[in-house]
Symmetry: C2
Subunit: 249 residues, 2 copies
DNA sequence: CGGAATCTTGATCAACTTCAAGCGTCGTGG
DNA sequence: CCACGACGCTTGAAGTTGATCAAGATTCCG
């Protein structure tokens, strides 16, 4: 369960201050020289909810690092069926590396603040910084694990298990002070596209979890987890991912 | 459609020669020094069909590069439902980087020949070779794209579309001389676990493609594509991934 | 030849989708 | 300030897809 990486990171700036020019991105490098060059090239941009950051098949010349807000990475079939592939949250990188055109749509689903720089510049920075390359490799491997967790969810879990799993992913990202309080960053339509369901099924399964007393509705797009153990059990997951029985070979 | 990368690579060795000691892996590096060290540490191993290369949750101290044969990367739920995450074919790397324990099962589904070396050694080679790191990053990004293509398939495609898409993936890997002749590397049970279906549904959908004249059965586990255009159309894919309408923003 | 594994086919069933309608909420403009 | 409309959410009824259950048929191999 790891859409989550950063529980602690959020871009800090005085709410109504002038546009900050420098964006510290210590998670991309610890090398001072590289960091300076990153800062020099990166500027802050804002995207409104609903706005498109990138469109499948197009060539985009800038990469972005999400600083605030949520976006979706998605793809779709010619007839309009769409699958959300990943939620993009603070610290996530948006932009295709090593290829001219994007394969996915990126859409802001809340107002988004991002650090933005030329893709060309970013790639040349990668070429000269092995450390940045290494960090990018590790974050890509983590993304791959998340994608694979989702393959299991989409291919083999029931609707009820999908919803429970989804809430647990959000729970892992939720604030440490209120671990059972969950703010849903997407509407039910989008949740459906993330879980491979219809929005009606999402509504019914959430209602069912509520009727079982496992969660409680708290105003719009907020839920409270009343029974975490039951939620975990409803998710169909292994309780502990490493509790496999040990058998000598 | 890109489980495929290498259409041309196959590990060459005299069939009954003594165990080769050196394994050339030019796709991991072009640096001669690194290549030499890779060769020095890597030894050839064989795995029989059905044998397990790695088990979820365990700590494995060796990494492997598939040279011949096919293996699956898979995961499962406590009650036994399993999802195949990826087919591992020649040139694919097996082994977890940056973490002690594996998250997935790796199983040979045919006899497999692999180059094998200590994970520790491999990781230290990565630390000193930025070029190898860069190559690994690019192959990881490609794996991520493949996983995401599969997310769309599992989340949004119908059973018929899944089978058609699967055959097209295999077609992309098939020999250049006989592009319409497809050898299935998995039994229908495994195809079902790859596509998120049951084996009965796989059998029925294949029969349906045959009845439509789109494919033809050719002995066990071999099919011939009779009508590629129809197969593409049945897969639900965009004909060209980059044919999106161009709309000015 | 015999037994296991794989594949096929049919009948029934359940989960989820589809279609349809109504309700609540929020934001905007009169 | 209220009315209206868009949007999101809920709920019901009916319909479909694919799963499940159950036999057979076929292939593979020792």
């Amino acid at each position: 369960m790891t859409y989550a990486q950063p529980r602690d990171f959020e871009y800090q700036s005085a709410p109504h201050s002038a546009e900050p020019r420098f964006v510290p991105l210590p998670f991309l490098t610890s090398c001072e020289h590289t960091q300076r060059r990153l800062n020099k090239e990166m500027t802050v941009r804002h995207f409104e909810a609903g706005q498109t950051l990138q469109i499948r098949g197009r060539c985009h010349h800038r990469v972005h690092v999400i600083l605030q807000g949520t976006a979706t990475l998605s793809t779709s079939l010619p007839d309009g069926r769409t699958q959300i592939l990943r939620l993009l949250m603070p610290r996530d990188l948006v932009g295709r590396l090593g290829s001219e055109t994007t394969r996915y749509d990126v859409t802001a689903i809340s107002d988004v603040t991002a650090g933005s720089m030329s893709r060309h510049e970013f790639e040349s920075l990668l070429r000269i910084s092995p450390e940045m390359t290494r960090r990018l490799l590790h974050s890509t491997l983590r993304e791959l694990d998340e994608a694979r967790e989702w393959l299991l969810l989409l291919g083999r879990k029931t609707a009820a298990e999908k919803l429970a799993s989804f809430l647990l992913v959000l729970q892992n990202r939720s604030s440490i002070r209120h671990p059972s309080h969950i703010r849903l960053p997407l509407c039910q339509f989008e949740i459906a596209d993330l879980l491979g369901l219809t929005h009606e099924t999402v509504s019914r399964q959430l209602a069912h979890l509520r009727d079982q007393g496992i969660i409680e509705y708290r105003g719009t797009r907020q839920v409270e987890i009343r029974d975490l153990a039951a939620l975990v059990s409803a998710s169909g997951n292994h309780t502990d991912p490493h509790d496999m029985p040990y058998v000598m070979q």
